[in-house]
Symmetry: C2
Subunit: 389 residues, 2 copies
């Protein structure tokens, strides 16, 4: 196990009706609130109304920033910063999924930064003081509700890059599983694939002595695999939605990644797909992951794939390690496919024209050549992408 510093201080109010905690959670930080949300879904499902009602009742002064994009853009961050400065905002309230929360984090840091907040994606040390952030989660996927990371998109340069820092960790997050009842089928599936991806990226690490983290990751993966079909078949299953929602947070709050080693590979690759084609992140990951697994399966890595197959999918350890490993990869592929996820790039509108360019960019924007689970060059990434056809 590598040395690590772990801190996941977000106060989680979990369960149906926990929005009642909102006024108290916000008031700790001030009265002037920037309310950030995405499209109209929070208005359709009543969450916006419930929050606004509580804010009005408790005399908060609210400024709104609506229309955050699914891959939130730097322009929206700049708009948010302006609103914070003009309105002397004390605290940001994000209502939405990972995109809204990520955008809010970038705004929170941009409030105290004079330069272009895109700089944060180039140099994490620029993320300093930030406005406090409270979130109301409406989708189980990114884990952004309990960590300090964010991903921002710059369409002008076709870049989608990460940023983050401990000051961006939400102070509190309200997790009400009923708020995810209306998440459409494909978004539910994509969200679960995203949760799986975080666990898988942490799980396949160069060091294998952080057994506890791996056992916990396996436990969360088994939960996601068990409950995603339930949520898809019965969108208002509280048990399924609750287990998926809490899985989302615990998959990426440091619990399964601390003490492990190396950088994430599939996210580096997927971010290029989203940057060039604006596809849904979780779907891009589901397409890439099994092909990446096949590409990096070798004598050195096979034992980790055997553990994955046996412990997550209950595949029998027959002694033929490569066969067991491949059965595990196949089980994962079939799991994603069974959730209704389109499992090839053409199905999401991506042709072969930019594969080489995206492969190069993935290498340029990440450390996967040096620090990936298995070191990859641009030609490896291109091969992985070609296998997605």
């Amino acid at each position: 196990m590598k040395n690590f510093v772990f801190q996941a201080p977000t106060k989680i109010a979990f369960g149906e009706g926990q929005i009642s905690h909102l006024p108290k959670l916000l008031a700790e930080h001030g009265q002037k609130v920037l309310l950030v949300y995405g499209g109209g879904s929070v208005k359709r499902n009543g969450i916006y109304e419930a929050a606004i009602g509580l804010l009005a009742e408790n005399k908060f002064i609210v400024t709104e920033l609506a229309g955050v994009e699914p891959n939130p853009r730097i322009e929206t961050v700049l708009k948010g910063r302006e609103l914070c400065l003009e309105n002397e905002i004390d605290v940001i309230l994000a209502i939405g999924g990972g995109s809204t929360i990520d955008c809010s984090k970038a705004i929170a840091a941009a409030r105290y930064y004079d330069g272009n907040p895109w700089d944060f994606t180039q140099d994490r040390s620029l993320v300093g003081e930030a406005l406090p952030l409270v979130t109301i989660l409406t989708m189980s996927a990114t884990g952004s509700e309990m960590n300090g990371g964010a991903v921002i998109t710059n369409l002008a340069t076709q870049e989608k890059l990460g940023m983050g820092g401990p000051t961006l960790i939400p102070k509190a997050s309200i997790l009400d599983p009923t708020y995810t009842y209306s998440v459409p089928t494909i978004q539910t599936a994509a969200g679960s694939a995203d949760i799986m991806s975080h666990l898988i990226e942490n799980y396949f690490s160069r060091n294998t002595t952080a057994a506890l983290q791996d056992r916990i990751a396996e436990g969360i993966m088994k939960t996601v695999i068990a409950y995603t079909p339930v949520a898809l078949a019965e969108p208002t299953s509280y048990e399924a939605r609750a287990n998926l929602m809490w899985s989302s947070s615990l998959a990426l709050n440091g619990l399964t990644g601390s003490g492990k080693e190396g950088t994430w590979t599939c996210h580096a690759i997927e971010h290029e797909l989203s940057a060039f084609y604006d596809i849904t992140h979780g779907i891009g990951l589901a397409i890439v992951i099994p092909r990446w697994m096949e590409h990096v399966l070798n004598e050195q890595t096979v034992s980790q794939f055997v553990a994955f197959a046996v412990n997550v999918f209950g595949i029998e350890a027959t002694g033929d390690d490569f066969a067991v490993a491949r059965a595990g990869i196949k089980a994962l592929y079939e799991t994603f496919a069974s959730w209704g996820i389109p499992m090839t790039l053409p199905e999401v509108g991506i042709d072969e024209s930019k594969l080489a360019l995206m492969a190069e960019k993935a290498i340029e924007h990440s450390a996967i050549t040096k620090h990936g689970f298995v070191s990859l060059e641009a030609k490896d990434v291109e091969a992985i992408l070609k296998n997605c056809f």
Copy 2:
């Protein structure tokens, strides 16, 4: 899954050499430090010297409270309070295992309480403001390094009772696995039994819909079962000590208990054994748990015991549920025994003379009749204790 509020804000500095963070972690809270520790082991193994050196170098003003007992006593808490007031202490530094940390928590709260701090065990609402606490953990067992709970003993009344509150959660804990290299064999085994007990008490809950928590608990249990024999055979195995140490913290920081239901039974029973006979907590638990399991195994609970047997011990689900359940309980018993734990009460110096009295006290001091996994009366507790002979 039941509604819950989860917050585990302790900053964890994990790994060899992380004591280097100590001055910075303390300085956030002030310069006047109450240094709390137990017997001489922290002096023998060099941790005391390392800490004192760093404190002197960084000009902290240190007051010492040595000699905290294995079951820390209310008199020591009172002594600590006096030292805090006399020396205008800003922050408490606990170096030790659960007893030292628990005692420090009670002192931290007592500092701001005019009455008898034993009151905290009777009414948790009395725990308010508290001195900040930083810990250096030297034993993997209680999880006190990452939660707000404490257990204090009153030998005069033969009571060992819990107290706690969010203000008592350590601000930071330094977890250096090498600090547990010198923990004696029997204490290592008792510590692992204690970790298992926390997981088991949370796992066997009346509600069975918090699947994620159960899968995580199974993962931690498997880790403890895998690494305890390694640590016993090879006390300086960093991998084993590291996995056990982090298991200790994660078993009882809210992760496996939030969203579950009911009160803990085996701890209520064991606290009476320790209160009357001052035995090692983890050993008392290892003796009681399998007998409690046998007592509460029935038509309603069998499916949970099957999950335990299959998921933790890899016992085959044959369809004969009671046989599978009993095989799981037997596997747990044999696991504890294989660690060298004395598995009967006579072996730890307890005869039958006070069984009925201890059973009555367990009922009086807890809510297990109303809120236990299976409701127990005094006669049930007595029967469980009789089976420990």
